[in-house]
Amino acid sequence: MTNPVPLREGLFRETAAGPTLLASCCTACGHTSYPPAPRCLDCGREAQEPVELGSDGELLCATVVHMGNHRYPPGYTVGYVTMPHGVRVFAQLAISAGEDLPAPGTPMTLEIVPMWREQEQDVLAYRFVPAPGKESAHA
């Protein structure tokens, strides 16, 4: 067995408190960039410090994709999730076929899972799972 590889370096990691997305925060203007940026996408300054967005977000909207592609079979669910610092993230949602789409505003939590296989290796990426009982950090 070979180790799974992340989709790309520096996007996410597992921590003692659970999985987190990795972003950058501008020390000059406070803008948060995800994926992390080498210089601020808003004001252009270079002084950026790493921040963890954590794993809690809130669903903005979702859809079921009924046509597959070379990676994903038909019937996968995707959406935009609003994370802390107002960061809007596109990701797949862990919803089983036939289950209703979660409503906008539903608290979501991040998980890091193998998304597809490439050259005999699992490729790790992130997706969100509805967590209706959970208080959204964003709200």
Partner: protein, 381 residues
């Protein structure tokens, strides 16, 4: 800056024609535009062509069969806005005085492209694309948001498609030329909720071409040539800068620039051709183009103002939904259709007395941007 005029327009057949080459499709459109302009192809001083898939020396490939050699030829790519980019590039060269007469061409063979029959993806290495984003998914998520924020319903989105096909049934060049009911649109196969198959533009091969000229040249060939009164092309901005995904702000910015240059207000526009690759996005464009107040896009659609005989008909050609969408051709094709409208040559879908027309096209998606390229041209007679 000099004034620039549209002297002639031409389109190829639109449809699924995998046996027809780029030179064949592009040549058909270019010949038609040259004939319409009443010029000789040897007078052409510059050629700008656009193609998204398998693109290489598109201008030369087409023009070598038309006797045009030894002139400046440029080939551009800007996703669905590539054709608009070719138009804009030629416009700038004529306005600046580099050339007096040229042709812009958009051509695409979707049925022989690597994405034939697939959902159009972003660039291979795009993060959101790797996570499952494609064009219909992007617009399905926007449609979901329109339902939450604008009170839009699946029936509203279907109505955009019904309207497009009502128009397309009147256009002999349309790929579909068939009308559908709201029920039929809703009952077609689901692609990405709430977008059904009949709310997606079809895979289409085709080409369009426009001959443009300076005032001195134009007045020799036409009594009242159509003037390019406003021309704008702008790249997308960061997604974090827009308040919500129910606007494509690059479209609004391109429109503002074109309105300002042309000295017209949205209320002056008589007819519009725009990017309706997916039915629901048309409602967003109404607002971004200022055809109605922000938030009133659904109301404008329901009022019938954008239908045949309405105050501001949108996509009387049938749009991408009915006419078809050969990606890079569409930005040129909308200039052809607006020109025909302003010349009173649009037959059954003619907007009576149209004097001011707007041609919009958007293209491309990349993680972190609202979209990649937005273009608006305003034509007047």
């Amino acid at each position: 800056m000099r004034e620039v005029f549209v002297l002639g327009v031409g389109q190829s057949d639109f449809g699924k024609m995998p046996e027809r080459s780029i030179a064949d499709l592009g040549g058909q459109a270019a010949r038609a535009a040259i004939a319409d302009a009443g010029i000789n192809s040897a007078q052409i001083q510059a050629v700008f062509s656009s193609r998204v898939y398998d693109a290489m020396i598109t201008s030369q490939t087409i023009m070598k069969d038309l006797g045009v050699t030894r002139v400046e030829m440029v080939n551009v790519e800007n996703a669905c806005a590539g054709g608009s980019t070719a138009i804009r590039s030629l416009y700038k060269d004529i306005a600046a005085g580099f050339v007096d007469l040229g042709i812009a061409i958009g051509v695409e063979s979707m049925t022989t492209s690597p994405i034939a029959g697939k959902l159009i993806p972003p660039d291979r290495d795009d993060l959101d694309g790797q996570l499952g984003l494609s064009m219909p998914v992007l617009f399905a998520l926007q449609a979901q948001r329109l339902m939450a924020t604008h009170g839009a319903t699946p029936e509203d989105f279907a109505q955009v498609s019904v309207k497009a096909h009502d128009f397309g049934a009147l256009n002999p060049r349309a790929q579909y030329q068939k009308r559908f009911t709201v029920e039929e649109v809703l009952a077609s196969r689901m692609i990405a909720d709430p977008i059904t198959l009949l709310q997606c533009c079809p895979n289409t091969d085709g080409a369009a071409a426009v001959v443009m000229a300076s005032a001195d040249v134009a007045k020799k060939y036409a009594e009242a040539p159509v003037r390019v009164a406003g021309s704008a092309l702008i790249s997308g901005d960061y997604d974090f800068r827009r308040s919500d995904i129910t606007t494509l702000e690059l479209g609004a910015r391109a429109a503002a620039l074109a309105y300002e240059q042309a000295g017209v207000a949205p209320s002056d526009v008589d007819v519009v051709e725009l990017h309706d690759a997916f039915a629901s996005e048309e409602i967003v464009h109404y607002e971004d183009l200022g055809l109605c107040a922000r938030g009133d896009g659904v109301g404008l659609l329901r009022s019938g103002a954008t239908s045949l005989g309405g105050r501001i008909p949108v996509n009387p050609s049938g749009g991408l939904l009915s006419l078809g969408h050969p990606l890079a051709a569409s930005g040129v094709r909308v200039i052809c259709d607006i020109t025909d409208q302003l010349r009173g040559r649009s037959g059954a879908s003619q907007v009576p007395g149209a004097k001011v027309g707007l041609a919009q096209m958007l293209g491309g998606v990349a993680t972190g941007l609202d979209a990649a390229a937005g273009s608006v041209h305003i034509l007047t007679v």
